[in-house]
């Protein structure tokens, strides 16, 4: 951000209300290319809504979202084109249950990028290999563990060659022993230079992997900075209280 390059993701005074309930109250945030930003905060603080506004799965009620400097909140913006470049991973995986793992990974490649079946399957197999599930290509999602499903979901997003990835509490729905495999994949991605915006409860991941940590509370960014500073030396009472609650157990 300091070297003058265009941010990969930039939010300007982003606002979102559900009826009279204002969930985001003016968020300004920039994610530089190849940067990993973690968003932490209590549930209900608006962090998932923020993430979902980035690819406009949630329609912002005010402010701007810029992807590589392009205003995607412009009314004429073709969202389908924008979303090709933004991979997203959901808390509930959202794999397509009627398709095998490989077909989950090839569907959008063929339908959106127009790749041939053969090319899509080559890429798909490569991506499954990348998340350590090459041998599960023929399995249906219901035959996979939660951790495996989430890794297939990551492979599905990666197969589109996204410029950036959004993670919406990707490990929150997993049994504790399965969290590690998914975090490993995310850590590898980060080390390979993927731009990542990560909503998470995993403080260890935020501390070790991210370049920048954002603490949200009641729809505003309460505190942000390098992980050691934000997590090691919290300035606001709210963050101090939040970290105590999270780290206590």
């Amino acid at each position: 951000m300091t070297d003058g390059t265009t941010p990969a993701i930039e939010l300007r005074d982003l606002r979102k209300s559900f009826g009279s309930n204002e969930v985001l109250k003016g968020i300004d945030l920039a994610v530089a290319p190849k940067q990993v930003v973690c968003v932490i905060g209590a549930s209900g603080s608006g962090k998932s809504t923020l993430l979902r506004c980035v690819n406009r799965l949630e329609e912002p009620t005010g402010g701007q979202v810029l992807i590589d400097g392009i205003d995607i909140t412009h009314p004429d913006c073709d969202l389908d084109l924008v979303r090709r470049h933004i991979g997203m991973v959901f808390q509930q995986f959202n794999l397509f249950p009627h398709l095998k793992a490989l077909d989950n990974v090839t569907l959008a490649q063929r339908e959106v990028l127009g790749r041939s079946k053969q090319e899509a399957e080559e890429v798909g197999q490569e991506m499954l290999d990348r998340v350590g599930l090459a041998e599960k290509a023929g399995s249906y999602p219901s035959q996979l563990s939660g951790g495996q499903q989430q890794r297939v979901a990551i492979a599905r997003a990666l197969a589109m060659n996204p410029e950036m990835m959004l993670f919406d509490e990707a490990t929150s729905a997993l049994d504790p022993e399965l969290v590690g495999d998914v975090l490993d994949v995310m850590r590898t991605l980060a080390s390979e230079g993927m731009t990542m915006l990560v909503v998470t409860h995993e403080m260890g991941f935020a501390r070790r992997v991210s370049d920048h940590v954002v603490f949200m509370d009641q729809g505003v960014i309460c505190e942000q900075g390098p992980p050691d500073q934000v997590l090691g030396n919290p300035q606001t009472p709210r963050l101090q209280q939040f970290l105590e609650q999270v780290l206590e157990h």
Binding site: N55, L57, L79, D80, L81, V82, R83, R84, I86, G87, M88, F90, Q92, N94, L95, F96, P97, H98, L107, A108, E111, V112, Y140, S142, A153, R156, A157, M160
Partner: protein, 286 residues
């Protein structure tokens, strides 16, 4: 009746307080009422068996000669036509139903009200009236001649498709609405358009969800093809019920109707069994 746990809770047991001893009396009461019901049932059956004129019933409903005379036409013409009517009406109904379900879920108000009106009308009208209106009156009133398809007139197929489509539209809509929102979000986040998301992600899952009610509709439709008996058709165009009715009238005998009934059951019972099989497989996959 000789449940060992009941025996152990006898008078001498110290472990069960007096208050709880009423359990035994309850079991005895329920056993007594069951015995009474069985006895009543047995008496009714016995009365019917003794008083019925079995020779006459056998001759009028289970007459082997008349049953044999129905073959092979009852299969090669009647049952075949019933199946043809059912398959084409169901196909037409699914296409129409899917279109109407999508219109009903459209964001455009005019589309929604059009679909809602269609569904209201054809679910609200008696199927028989629709069949007479479309299959019988339309050719006369408007001079439209329905072509034949696999040897049957398409007027009845159009009418049944309209009726089935109205019911199927609601079934399919409920299936589409039952697909989790996260599925659409995942597809859209990959850059898939609204239309492609529907075609590749939502509709395939919706149909899996509604296989049981869909098969149920198929069975209902198969039975409703008997309403086409009202349309005057040539000998080779008769479906099962019309065929059996003609044979019964000709012979003054109920046997053709019994045979037709048996053929309906031979088709419908395996179909409903198949539903539960599919349901089980479906559950395993989701």
């Amino acid at each position: 009746m000789t449940d060992p746990t009941v025996e152990r809770l006898g008078e001498g047991e110290e472990t069960l307080p007096e208050l709880y001893r009423s359990g035994r009396a309850k079991q005895r009461r329920s056993r007594n009422s069951r015995i009474a019901a069985y006895t009543l049932g047995a008496l009714i059956v016995a009365a019917v068996v003794v008083t019925a004129d079995w020779e006459r019933i056998g001759d009028k409903y289970f007459n082997g000669q008349i049953a044999r005379d129905m073959f092979p036409d009852v299969i090669t013409i009647a049952a075949k036509n019933t199946v043809v009517y059912t398959v084409f009406s169901f196909t037409g109904g699914v296409v129409l139903g899917l279109s109407m379900a999508l219109l009903r879920l459209s964001s455009i108000r005019v589309y929604r009200s059009f679909a809602a009106t269609y569904i209201d009308i054809f679910r609200g009208l008696p199927a028989l009236l629709t069949i007479i209106l479309v299959g019988f009156m339309t050719p006369i009133a408007l001079g439209i001649h329905f072509p034949t398809l696999f040897g049957v007139p398409t007027g009845g197929i159009v009418a049944l498709s309209l009726v089935a489509g109205a019911y199927l539209a609601e079934t399919i809509r409920s299936g589409i609405e039952a697909v989790p929102k996260g599925q659409v979000e995942a597809a859209r986040s990959l850059g898939m358009t609204h239309a492609k998301t529907l075609r590749k992600v939502v509709i395939p899952q919706a149909f899996r969800i509604i296989i049981p009610p869909l098969t149920n509709e198929l069975v209902l439709l198969l039975k409703d093809t008997s309403l086409l008996a009202i349309l005057g058709v040539t000998i080779t165009q008769k479906e099962l019920t019309k065929f059996a009715q003609s044979e019964s009238s000709r012979t003054f005998n109920g046997t053709p109707l019994v045979v037709a009934g048996a053929i309906y059951l031979i088709i419908t019972i395996p179909l409903t069994r198949l539903v539960s099989q599919l349901e089980k497989r479906n559950k395993a996959m989701r």
